[in-house]
């Protein structure tokens, strides 16, 4: 594979002597679509390409399939506003045209907001910003806020994390890079920046579940949204 003639609209890669065009689509995942898993989303996007009649590039292996990669997959239940997937086409197409075709074919809740040549590598992502809204029956927002403030001032936040080698106890606190909180009616609204990347990762839901378990209440999540993914420099992933 070699690169040539790339511009800000798309990257050109050569596969077996043929020019292939690589794009990064930024999309929003909201409303009912937030309840689908990454695998479901992957399949939904593949089918969208089939319906949209885009000359999408298929992998050339034993079992050809649409080439599609997601830099940092979003988890089930989480809305996204600046999420990304990469795809390739066999024709040099305008991003606007691709976006129009994809959006006409996407199901409710998934919308592409822009398409451009990939700038960063997925491996450069190290953190992400999240917004969480949660409530619990019988507790006011102010009471939740008070508990939260006590929670984040603990010297360590121990939690059981599932890993490939079985469950292990980890300290979540070093993976929580920044936080702010406020009460809103019966809800607690959190703005969190946590580790997000191939090596270190902290799901904000694990953090909030650990919070709820520590104070013995059952959380009802009203909103979980990833706002953006960032690099080490703080720059937004592009």
């Amino acid at each position: 594979m070699s690169e040539k003639n790339s511009n800000e609209k798309r990257k050109v890669v050569v596969v077996q002597g043929r020019d292939i065009y690589e794009y990064r689509a930024f999309y929003q995942k909201a409303r009912r679509a937030k309840y689908i898993s990454h695998l479901d989303l992957y399949r939904a996007v593949q089918r969208t390409f089939q319906r949209a009649d885009i000359p999408v590039w298929f992998t050339e292996g034993f079992n050809p399939h649409i080439y599609l990669t997601f830099p940092m997959p979003i988890f089930l239940g989480c809305e996204g506003v600046e999420e990304a997937f990469d795809f390739r086409t066999t024709a040099d197409l305008e991003p606007e045209e691709l976006m129009e075709k994809l959006n006409a074919a996407f199901p409710e809740g998934i919308r592409v907001t822009r398409i451009a040549a990939p700038v960063h590598k997925a491996t450069e992502i190290v953190r992400a910003d999240y917004t969480l809204r949660l409530s619990s029956e019988g507790l006011s927002g102010a009471e939740l806020l008070e508990k939260w403030e006590a929670f984040v001032s603990l010297p360590a936040i121990e939690a059981e994390k599932r890993t490939k080698k079985g469950p292990k106890t980890v300290d979540l606190k070093p993976l929580l890079y920044a936080q702010s909180a406020e009460a809103d009616g019966d809800c607690l609204v959190l703005a969190l920046t946590t580790a997000c990347g191939p090596s270190e990762n902290l799901s904000p839901v694990l953090l909030a579940d650990t919070f709820a378990a520590r104070y013995g209440f059952e959380p009802d999540y009203r909103l979980i949204r990833r706002e953006r993914m960032r690099l080490e420099s703080g720059e937004t992933f592009n």
Binding site: R31, R32, A33, Y35, I36, S37, L39, D40, L41, R43, A44, Q46, R47, T48, F49, Q50, R51, F58, P64, L76, G77, A105, F106, P107, E108, G109, S135, V205, D220, Y221, R222, I224
Partner: protein, 616 residues
């Protein structure tokens, strides 16, 4: 009531929340103010299974085409979500609107298998309704049901207000038209509606039939009242090429059981396998022409983006223009890189050219259904396949590169001995031997997997009078089969004995059995077809508490003159024909397929054209 607010926080606490939220591509959402008739199309099993069912997709499309009507989907919540729904007071709701079921005029259930019946009761209860029709209120929705199990509606007669017998496309819209007309005229009461509906051909209103019983528990009489017909004849679509077929499917996010475009190529089957209820109740054969099929295939695949197309029928290789149909569809699917799957192939007409067409797409495994291990048994069940055909097919498959062959069999068939069961193992061994005798065999190792179902006698088949094997006999036969298998290249799997016996009880149940179903549900039985949820002991208790025995329904051989609980439901084939077939079965005599020679089953009377033949 709209449940959205209450629902959302619950979804993150259950497995697979995508089951419960709707919002998939191509779902139909309408303005509540612009429709006057709302119907919930319920499938009494999980989303993944219900979303795979073609019949409800067809009805959803046909009903939603009418601007006055809105049909929505409802599936049975899995036990984790049901528990939360009950705890938080969340009623069952439609996936499109997220409105609770009390906003609907009609709630309909698709009855595909007997072990889903407790889910029907449970879903009615989750909707805030009494499952028992007699206890429901005037303002409650009308509860209807259809599907193959409605050919013996009696076990559910106490729960369902109205059954649609046969194919639903036309009778559904006729029923809806009557409902809307009576509402518009102000003449609607539930009782009057049901009485009027019973005059529509194909509609059975069980409350209009009084059943009496002999002392031994058999039916003494069935008496219709209020002008209901003495027999309800099933509906069929006369011209399959002309009837509307969905141009698109709802495309689920999560993986469902049949997550692909499904094209129905024909209805009915020419074969007459004597165990097969579908083979009798869907008669006569009606195929779609290749032009229509090509158009429908393209519409479906283009609009859904599915990369797999399945050609569905009871026996796809029996389509009258199978080669032309396949050639034309493959031209399209190849170009679009769409995989083609052909379920229901027969061993006797699986040609090399057909094999080549299928194998161009993907080469995983082949599945065939010899059904029995020797010729006498195959003749008893009228499978009309001989061993040389099975061997020829396996040879074509092996030489074509396949190494996994899956074979479906049944045991506990009528007249079957332990030796007959051992012949299943011997046949599997001969297939393994065949593999090693071939010079052109693939280098991978052969695997013959043998899947054995326990035969369940079904209504409207020549075996409807037959007593099912008892537990002890079924177990003894299973042991005999396991004993007959010597090779590690053969793997055997069984259907669960307990579920097969319960299926045997319900399939030929009468109206009295409804009490047992109600009691079983009260004891917590739901999702009976899921082994992790199945409570056989609770079911047996329920049956006994209802004053009944499982033996009366499952293992009792009926007298040929007995009034059967489903005799007043006419699926087209005559009782005289079924009796004649049963007698031939006992002599191991076969009957030729409909295309070779008409056997005079009687289903021709359902056709509007009166030239006396069903098959071209």
């Amino acid at each position: 009531m709209n449940v959205k607010e209450k629902l959302e926080p619950l979804l993150l606490k259950v497995q697979k929340p995508a089951r419960y939220i709707g919002g998939e591509l191509h779902e139909v959402v309408k303005d509540r103010q612009e429709v006057d008739f709302r119907i919930a199309l319920c499938f009494p099993d999980t989303y993944e299974i219900g979303m795979s069912h073609l019949g409800l997709k067809i009805l959803y499309d046909i009903i939603n085409r009418d601007p006055h009507c809105w049909a929505e989907r409802v599936y049975a919540p899995w036990v984790d979500f049901e528990e939360l729904m009950r705890k938080k007071g969340l009623p069952l709701y439609g996936l499109e609107s997220l409105d609770s079921l009390d906003e609907f005029q009609v709630i309909g259930f698709s009855l595909q298998y007997e072990l889903s019946y407790t889910n029907v009761l449970n879903m009615l209860d989750l909707a805030g309704l009494d499952p028992r029709a007699a206890y429901r209120k005037e303002d409650d929705p009308v509860i209807i049901a259809g599907g193959p199990c409605a050919s013996n509606p009696e076990p559910l007669a106490g729960f369902i207000d109205l059954f649609q017998i046969g194919e639903g496309e036309e009778v559904m819209m006729e029923m809806i038209a009557l409902y809307r007309k009576m509402k518009a005229e102000g003449t609607y009461t539930k009782k009057d509606f049901l009485r009027e509906a019973a005059r529509i051909p194909g509609i059975y209103v069980p409350s209009l039939y009084a059943i009496t019983y002999h002392e031994d528990g058999t039916v003494a009489s069935v008496t219709p009242k209020d002008g209901a017909p003495a027999r309800v004849t099933k509906r069929i679509i006369q011209d399959m090429s002309a009837v509307r077929y969905p141009e698109t499917f709802i495309v689920p996010y999560m993986e469902t059981v049949h997550d692909r475009a499904v094209l129905e190529v024909m209805r009915g089957c020419i074969r007459g396998c004597r165990f097969c209820q579908a083979g009798f109740i869907y008669r006569p054969l009606r195929a779609k022409n290749p032009d229509v099929l090509c158009r429908q295939a393209k519409l479906l695949c283009d609009s859904t983006g599915y990369d797999e197309l399945s050609l569905s029928s009871l026996s796809t290789s029996d389509h009258p223009q199978v080669e032309e149909m396949l050639n034309r569809i493959i031209d399209y699917t190849d170009e679009k890189k769409i995989g083609l799957s052909l379920p229901s192939l027969r061993v006797d007409n699986f040609s090399e050219s057909l094999m080549e067409k299928v194998s161009r797409i993907h080469k995983s495994g082949l599945t065939f259904a010899p059904e029995a291990g020797n010729q006498r048994m195959r003749d008893v069940i009228n499978k009309n396949v001989d061993e040389s055909e099975i061997m020829r097919t396996c040879r074509i498959a092996f030489e074509g590169g396949y190494t996994n062959v899956k074979l479906y069999f049944m045991s506990s068939l009528p007249t079957e001995t332990d030796e007959d069961v051992r012949d299943i193992g011997r046949l599997a061994q001969r297939i393994v031997d065949l593999f090693f005798s071939l010079e052109k065999r693939p280098r991978k190792m052969v695997n013959v997997s043998v899947s054995v179902a326990v035969f369940v006698p079904k209504p409207d088949t020549p075996f409807q009078w037959v007593g099912q094997d008892t537990f002890d006999v079924i177990r003894r036969k299973q042991a005999a089969l396991v004993d007959s298998i010597r090779s590690r290249k053969i793997s055997v799997s069984w259907h669960d004995v307990h579920t097969s016996v319960l299926e045997g009880v319900i399939a030929r149940g009468d109206r009295r059995l409804g009490d047992a179903i109600y009691r079983a549900w009260k004891k917590g039985c739901v999702f009976d077809s899921w082994s992790e949820c199945f409570h056989f002991d609770a079911w047996m208790e329920a049956i006994h508490e209802a004053g009944l025995t499982p033996e009366f329904y499952a293992s009792r051989t009926r007298d040929l003159d007995e009034i059967l609980p489903w005799d007043h439901i006419d699926v087209g084939v005559s009782k005289a024909f079924l009796k004649h077939e049963w007698e031939k079965a006992q002599r191991a005599e076969t009957t030729r397929n409909c295309r070779e020679q008409c056997a005079g089953c009687g289903a021709v009377k359902l056709l509007a054209r009166k030239d006396g033949v069903c098959v071209e």
